[in-house]
Amino acid sequence: MTTIAPMHQVDTSFLRRLRARDERAWFELWQAFGPVVRGMLARWGNGRLGEETLRDLTQDTLAALSDSIERFDPQRGVRFSTWLLAIARHVLGDEMDRRYAQKRGGGKRGASLDDSWMGQSREPAPDAEYERRILGAKIHAAIRAAQRRSDFVHFEAYRMRVLESKQGREIGLLLGVSEPTVTRHCQRVREALREELAVAIEQWSYTDDERSEPSRAGLAAEDAGFDEALGEIWRTQEELVARDLVERSATARRGHDDPQRPGKADAGH
């Protein structure tokens, strides 16, 4: 039985790049967790935040995450997801304070992200859906990485099998290759996925509990089970993001800019 490689020593290369203000590492962070953070902020904003504001707050959240990585203490046993959530709450709270202060004609109230946010939040614990989203984001990052290093046709064959539940013969007919070739394509992509999954999970997990989540989700299973579990998470993540977009569109129709009509952006991060 194939399992996810244990990598309990934190892979610090990515964090090092973040600390070194490596813009590309920062962009990877945005790609991986931007949609989740934006979705959470939109929900907390309860329709009061426009699309531009959400984008800015998401950016602020990830910037704060990047900054406070310096001060993160793995010994406290705080989950990455909890930490990210606390930072997002802090950023949103800061924004609300600023708006409130402006409304009253005063200046911005001072607010700082100190170590008390590191797992000491008085807010309710993250709900199951949030945890699912974070796990989905990590897995999506792994899928993206595997896709980048795989041949286009191989990856499409795997996608057809896992996401569209097509049989090998059917995929072979569509791609003009034999069924054994499809199997080989899928195997290559699966191997790349397992490797990238191990990296992504290790990179964004700070507790043993977080590290064991993929196994609990069925990703430590044999090929068929792995594919099934991965497809399920992949589809769920897409549905969650699609639902976020629908909710934000409804918000936009109530007076904010429409996320279904994305505007020009100087930078996507």
């Binding site: 899928i143 993206r144 896709q147 791609l175 003009g176 290759v177 020009k264 996507g268």
Partner: protein, 549 residues
């Protein structure tokens, strides 16, 4: 003659023929009448739906009017109270709010009393046109120099019709009509033009002018600029104006219309239409790239659907592919290549990367958008939730694939699109049939195409696939129309082309009703003639009783 005698008389040959014709005419009458009644039922339902919706809107207007009035009245004592407690600024605020509410109420009331009745009797298009144009015409600035809707600017040889909303470049945009002499000079026989004007007196900054100068150069290179003039404080140039919806609105309306009809997916005809529009964009990109230009902002809102074709507009970010400038991350989220951001963050120069491929990513994202009705939130990993042909999904993904794995150029993507659209049935085309897959698909076997096509079509329950010639795709064939019979009973048909010419949104054909009525009339006349002849003939020979029986 008694009834008994009449029954005993054998039927003559002509009577058998008449009986046969009578039965045929009767059957055709029944079928045609059923179709006509069905169509009338649909029309009635549509009419009732229209009435219901209009009444609902009318009700909404009335509620808004009453609500606005109530709030306005309620705000007045509040304003008075604030004035009494010596808070004049707050009193003014309350008064301003009351004014806004009163205006809202008045507009809602006007809508209820004037607009909705007009919509109810079928003048909805007129109302929408006036609503859209009137505010623009009224808000056009005027300083006494010009006249008409485009007051505030004058361009010799052009009559300004109206001003468009300003773009991000700070330029003013005017729709204008050239006079006869100017038309001859610029070589434009018909149609309006759009004038893009940069004027320091209108608030244009030097940076905008410099950037636009690059666009102007690009547009001139492509032969898009019909006329231009530069003066000390302003310059302007003229391009052809395309009246139409932008592709974003066009496609959204199409998906919404499909949703209202209870279909989550676009039908084959509409899929072919929207994919053909993307083909137009890719063909334009091929020409631009060949001219050494990078559009840099490919998105549905930057293509205008005009006379069944998509025209790429907005030259605001056009950049020479050989430019030594550092890459910037300008563009539009979800349609901008993530690789562009990575390269820009690396500090790469435009000339160091194959920037034409960034446009191809945008074209792939646009293809995804037209098929799905929404943008690809996950880039190349975005799933297709609606039913669409596998080959078109493949093309969209290939265009959005990782930088080194996507189409090498627009020509390759165009060849794939042409192959998918050839014959008008993309469901019958496998990804393996696309030109870009030749040589890439291992172990291809001859004789599999028919099986695969059958598989591809039966998976969706599409009509039987059309035969696809083995010859290489020929773009000129795309314009050849074909006829599709939509109802074998009535003979209703419609002309199906890869390139239908929609006047606004494509709608379902209603030609079947006319044919059905014609068939019904002919069948009834034939039946009446048969019966009349029979009665006359039988009366003279005593066969009437037989018929009566």
């Amino acid at each position: 003659m008694t009834i008994r005698n009449a029954l005993e008389r054998p039927m003559q040959g002509i009577e058998w023929i008449l009986l046969f014709l009578g039965v045929i005419a009767f059957a055709v009458t029944l079928v045609a009448a059923g179709i006509v009644l069905g169509r009338i039922g649909v029309a009635t339902a549509t009419l009732l739906t229209h009435i219901g919706r209009t009444l609902a809107k009318l009700g909404g207007d009335l509620v808004r009017a009453i609500g606005g009035l109530v709030v306005a009245v309620a705000l007045l004592p509040i304003a008075l109270a604030r004035l009494i407690i010596l808070k004049p600024s707050q009193a003014l605020g309350a008064l301003a709010s009351a004014g806004r509410e009163a205006r809202t109420a008045a507009l809602a009331l006007a809508s209820a009393l004037l607009v909705r009745p007009l919509e109810l009797i079928g003048f909805g298009a007129l109302v929408r046109h006036v609503r859209r144009r009137l505010p623009a015409a009224m808000s056009a600035p005027s300083d006494g120099r010009g006249s008409g809707a485009g007051a505030g600017a004058e361009f010799e040889g052009y009559e300004i019709l109206r001003e468009l909303a300003r773009g991000g470049s700070g330029a003013r945009l005017f729709v204008a009509e050239p006079d006869a002499r100017t038309r001859r000079r610029i070589g434009l026989a018909s149609g309006a033009v759009v004038i893009k004007s940069f004027d320091f007196d209108d608030g244009t900054h030097a940076a905008d002018m410099v950037r636009e100068g690059r666009s102007l150069d690009a547009a001139r290179k492509l032969g898009l600029v019909l006329d231009h003039e530069a003066a000390e404080r302003r310059f302007w140039y003229v391009m052809r104006y395309y009246e139409g919806l932008d592709l974003g609105r066009f496609v959204r309306s199409m998906h919404e219309a499909a949703g209202e009809l209870g279909a989550a997916d676009l039908d084959t005809e509409r899929i072919v239409l929207v994919a053909s529009l993307v083909r137009d964009i890719v063909a334009t990109l091929r020409d631009w790239h060949a001219s050494g230009l990078w559009h840099k902002d490919i998105k549905p809102e930057n293509a205008i659907v005009h006379e069944g074709r998509a025209t790429l507009v907005d030259l605001g970010l056009v950049t020479p592919l050989a430019s030594h400038m550092t890459l910037t991350t300008h563009g539009t989220e979800y349609f901008r290549d993530p690789e562009l951001v990575r390269q820009a963050l690396r500090g790469a120069r435009v000339s160091e990367v194959d920037a034409a491929r960034f446009d191809l990513y945008g074209a792939g994202a646009v293809l995804y958008f037209v098929l799905e009705g929404t943008f690809p939130a996950h880039g190349v990993l975005s799933g297709f939730r609606k039913q669409s042909p596998a080959c078109l999904q493949w093309i969209a993904r290939r265009a959005m694939a990782d930088f080194d794995r996507r189409y090498a150029n627009a020509e390759e993507m165009l060849a794939d699109l042409d192959r998918a659209l050839l014959g008008g049935d993309p469901w019958a085309v496998r990804p393996a049939d696309l030109p870009s897959m030749r040589g890439g698909a291992e172990e291809s076997e001859d004789g599999r195409s028919e099986e695969a096509r059958f598989l591809a079509t039966t998976m969706r329950g599409a009509p039987a696939p059309v035969a696809i010639p083995a010859a290489p795709p020929d773009a000129t064939l795309l314009a050849v129309p074909r006829v599709r019979v939509t109802n074998w009973w009535t003979g209703a048909y419609e002309v199906v082309s890869v390139r239908p010419l929609p006047a606004g949104l494509p709608a379902a054909s209603s030609r079947g009703l006319g044919v059905a009525i014609a068939v019904l009339v002919v069948a009834v006349l034939a039946l009446a003639a048969v019966i009349g002849y029979w009665i006359a003939n039988s009366a003279s020979s005593g066969g009437l009783m037989r018929f009566a029986l």
